[in-house]
């Protein structure tokens, strides 16, 4: 029984957790393959992280330390709401520090701090099907995956280069996992794509409304789709963070007045805080 009596530990009943764990095992065994699972109705709305929450609930134990981020930040409203949900229903320790967390639930970002083998990163996924915009029918997209028939996605990228001179996907940039399945990395900026590959942490993806779970096991090769003569490249914003001065992290743009004034600050609030603390320490010494 949990901190908030009346519900099971981490809200879901044990039978449901077992069902989700079976789906997770299959997902880990077939990297990048979308495993259908019997997504439950959660007390949070669909589209607000119900898939991620169910995956987190299924892997969370009493000894775990949980971090929840949305857009890279721990203090965005939905991150706060989900962190409170687990603090309330599971009574687990929570943290905002990436290095302290054993389970990190995220929406739209991968932390800047490199992850370790002792960590699990749980992604909230709105549309798990990378082919959905090219083919609305589930029956057909499943056939395309089964046959590894991905020419239509490559045509899409060809079109971008032909018309715009470059691949026009800034986030949710499609990847190929372990040389087999075409997979959506969820709407992370393509800036984060290189972190997906060969990552020591287990990466789990949950889509509640669409009822799909998939995974990238530790140290799995993840390739962002591209052309040999137009290789995948990350765009750097070209500004340092206005607070910590980092030039290598993904930045949020903050409009500060109505005259076009703006500053750029780290989207990963924990990363920014660590750098600030490090600088304060150096200055003191």
């Amino acid at each position: 029984m949990s901190a908030d009596s009346g519900y099971n530990f981490a809200y879901l009943d044990e039978q449901t957790k077992r069902m989700i764990r079976r789906a997770l095992l299959k997902a880990v065994a077939v990297p990048g393959y979308q495993v259908p699972f019997a997504s439950r109705e959660m007390p949070l709305p669909y589209g607000w992280g119900t898939g991620g929450i169910q995956v987190t609930a299924a892997v969370l134990g009493p000894e775990d330390t949980l971090k929840v981020i949305d857009q890279g930040a721990d203090d965005t409203t939905n991150a706060v709401s989900i962190r409170r949900f687990f603090a309330r229903t599971a009574g687990v320790a929570t943290t905002t520090r990436t290095i302290e967390a054993s389970v990190i639930q995220t929406r739209h970002r991968i932390p800047e701090t490199p992850l370790t083998e002792d960590q699990i990163l749980v992604y909230q996924v709105p549309i798990p099907e990378p082919l959905r915009w090219l083919e609305p029918r589930e029956a057909e997209t499943r056939a395309l995956h089964a046959l590894g028939d991905y020419g239509v996605m490559q045509v899409e990228l060809y079109e971008d280069i032909a018309i715009h001179g470059k691949i026009k996907r800034a986030y949710d940039y499609p990847v190929e996992v372990a040389g087999r399945y075409l997979t959506s990395p969820s709407p992370i900026p393509k800036f984060d794509n290189p972190k997906l590959s060969d990552c020591p942490a287990l990466q789990l993806f949950g889509a509640g409304r669409e009822k799909r779970i998939y995974a990238i096991p530790p140290y799995t090769a993840v390739r962002s789709l591209d052309f040999e003569d137009h290789p995948f490249a990350v765009d750097h914003p070209g500004h340092p963070c206005a607070i910590c001065g980092d030039t290598d992290s993904f930045l949020d743009e903050i409009v500060i007045d109505d005259a076009g004034g703006r500053i750029f600050v780290c989207s990963d609030t924990d990363h920014c805080r660590e750098r600030q603390e490090g600088q304060a320490h150096e200055n003191a010494a």
């Binding site: 239509v152 060809y158 032909a162």
Partner: protein
């Protein structure tokens, strides 16, 4: 099924029933490398249905269909696993629809349409894909400057030539064509026929072409099969069938062409 040693495609007793009495009844034939086989008949005679059976767009209710790959291996097309069938359909086979809109991606540029087969079979070099697309646009007499336009901006004749380029880019050995000149103006038809004839000859393609237009059949086909009520009622060399038809039905078909 036994397949003649040098045939590329062999059909035996192919059947299909729409449930209203129409369909295809026990059609058999062999196709040879470089052979152009015309199928003629009135609408409702089963010729387009037969082509769909050959192209895997419909599943026959009976009969067999064999194809000899480049490697010499004989494939049972009706029992081929889906993955293998799709691969074959975008490498060694081509299908030219009567309406080019059925065979093109209308939201994709001309270059993307031509390049799709290359990308679907593993090409990952943008420059080379684009060069192939340009070469093929030129071969089908489409101005290379229009490579980044969508087919919706093309005339009917250009759309049809684009569909042909999209099929030929992978170097297919067997191309199925359903009334490829249907729905086009007479002058446009003549130019397309010329183009088709030289492409077929240059590439040494094996072709099955369905047409109701005996003029098209005479110009393109080496041999003809005449269909009526789902059956093949007469077959032979094109000139022989058209100039000296044996069956009364064929005689009627031919005379209506002479009258027109």
């Amino acid at each position: 099924m036994k397949m003649p040693p040098d045939a590329i495609l062999s059909a035996r007793d192919l059947c299909f029933d729409y449930g209203n009495g129409q369909g295809v009844r026990r059609v058999s034939f062999d196709l040879w490398p470089g052979d152009v086989l015309g199928i003629v008949g009135e609408s409702g005679s089963g010729k387009t249905t037969l082509l769909k059976l050959l192209g895997g767009l419909l599943a026959p209710s009976g009969g067999s269909l064999s194809y000899r790959e480049t490697s010499g291996e004989v494939l049972d097309l009706l029992a081929l696993p889906e993955a293998r069938r799709r691969h074959l359909a975008r490498t060694e086979l081509g299908f030219v629809h009567q309406n080019p809109r059925d065979g093109l991606r209308l939201a994709v540029t001309a270059g993307g349409n031509v390049g799709e087969r290359l990308m679907a079979t593993g090409s990952r070099h943008y420059g080379r894909i684009r060069q192939s697309a340009l070469d093929w646009l030129t071969r089908v007499e489409i101005d290379g400057a229009r490579i980044d336009e969508r087919p919706t901006e093309f005339s009917g004749g250009m759309q049809q030539r684009l569909q042909i380029a999209r099929n030929l880019v992978s170097g297919p050995r067997l191309v199925l064509m359903d009334e490829p000149t249907g729905g086009l103006d007479v002058s446009v038809q003549a130019r397309l026929l010329d183009l088709l004839r030289s492409l077929v000859a240059d590439l040494g393609l094996s072709v099955v072409i369905v047409t109701h237009d005996l003029g098209v059949a005479r110009l393109l086909a080496d041999r003809l099969m005449v269909m009526q009520g789902g059956r093949v009622i007469e077959e032979g060399l094109t000139d022989q069938v058209l100039d000296d038809p044996r069956e009364p039905y064929t005689q009627l078909l031919v005379s209506s062409v002479l009258a027109a």
